[in-house]
Amino acid sequence: MVITCDDLWREISNYLDGDVGPELQSAIDGHLRECRRCVAVVAGTRNLIELYGDERVQQVPSGFSNRLHQKLESRLLPSRRHFLGWIVATAATALVIGSFETARSSVLGGPALRSKHAKGSTRVPPDLQVIVAEQGKTFHVARCPFIHGQAGLRTIPALEAEREGFAPCVRCMKKYLDATA
């Protein structure tokens, strides 16, 4: 199967979402080996998806959360007794979550994530073989289009990847986990 640039541009979104069949995937990969223009389009599109997926892009006004909670308190919890109850409940929840995170951290025994903004996962099977790139911050399933850089790729168990500070790729790992759930 041979495809043109027009064909590729029609499928680029599905390609990046991993939503193309093996034959089309192979044809697109082949085209990208030959066409610099399409490589630029695919790489740029992948980059913008990653950038906009970053929570730092979603800015909220200063004090937004405080004002929201004040509004809720005034409408939902009119009495001081309830408010104090909420404080106690929140503190208790924070304590439980903190204990859980501490326990989990000590079990994994690994360093902090390579990206200070990334989030780990408790759901990835520890023995799942995943791909990591030397300069990357996330781990992936094979053929994920969001693997950055082809240099220094390694296949290691997910547990090992997490110990090395890699976080799960939100796209390919989510898709994998949903498919296997």
Partner: protein, 218 residues
């Protein structure tokens, strides 16, 4: 903790949320705080998507969250709470927008344009992802500016799919359109944004050169 990527869907988290919802339904109002806390930012983004004004979006979020509390008994566990919350937000935001009558001031997005293939216009090479660039307010503003330059129908699918991390099917359900339409609009949104952003993020930003003014935000 801020996350550079959306959190993975976690069954344990969904169970925890379902437990909170049951407690709220049983009269424990305090549990509602914990339920909505992880979604405040996402709900604000959904409101801003429609209203495009900080004050209006914040008012919308406050009312939406209260509405979610009031109607929590109507929430069905087969949907994700976050999707349900975003859907309520979008409905409220659209109602506000209609009241403001601002839609008359904006160009109409022609749905039939969906069918026409989009041809990339810029082939600037943008290989390396400059995630560190997001630390700069200037870059975040350029991204917001580019997003706001899209038509409403494209902005909606892009925000829900690529920023709120909803699936194609969830996005279709929230917007009341077919998954095929979501895919078509998403493709155009992504390619249009790339045309707008690639020249700037492809290199100029890293050399500290002032962004040029013009049609593109760079």
């Amino acid at each position: 903790m801020a996350a550079s990527v959306g959190p993975l869907e976690n069954p344990a988290q969904q169970d925890y949320e379902q437990g909170l919802i049951e407690r709220i339904r049983d009269g424990e109002r305090e549990a509602f705080y914990e339920l909505i806390r992880p979604y405040e930012r996402r709900v604000y983004a959904a409101a801003f998507l429609i209203l495009r004004n900080q004050e209006d979006a914040e008012d919308c979020v406050q009312e939406t969250v209260l509405k979610a509390f009031k109607h929590i008994r109507q929430f069905r566990a087969e949907a994700k709470f976050s999707t349900w919350l975003i859907q309520i937000t979008l409905n409220d935001a659209r109602m506000r927008r209609r009241k403001q009558n601002r839609s008359l001031m904006e160009p109409i997005d022609k749905a039939e344009g969906d069918e026409e293939p989009y041809t990339p216009r810029d082939f600037a090479d943008w290989r390396e992802i400059p995630s560190e660039a997001l630390e700069r307010q200037e870059i975040r503003e350029k991204l917001a500016q580019a997003l706001n330059s899209l038509g409403q129908i494209y902005r909606e699918v892009f925000v829900l799919r690529d920023m709120e991390q909803l699936s194609i099917e969830e996005t279709a359900k929230v917007l009341g359109i077919s998954p095929a339409s979501v895919k078509t609009r998403l493709l155009r949104a992504r390619l249009m944004l790339r045309d707008l952003l690639a020249p700037g993020l492809g290199g100029r930003w890293s050399r500290g050169i002032q962004f040029a003014k013009g049609v593109k935000p760079w």
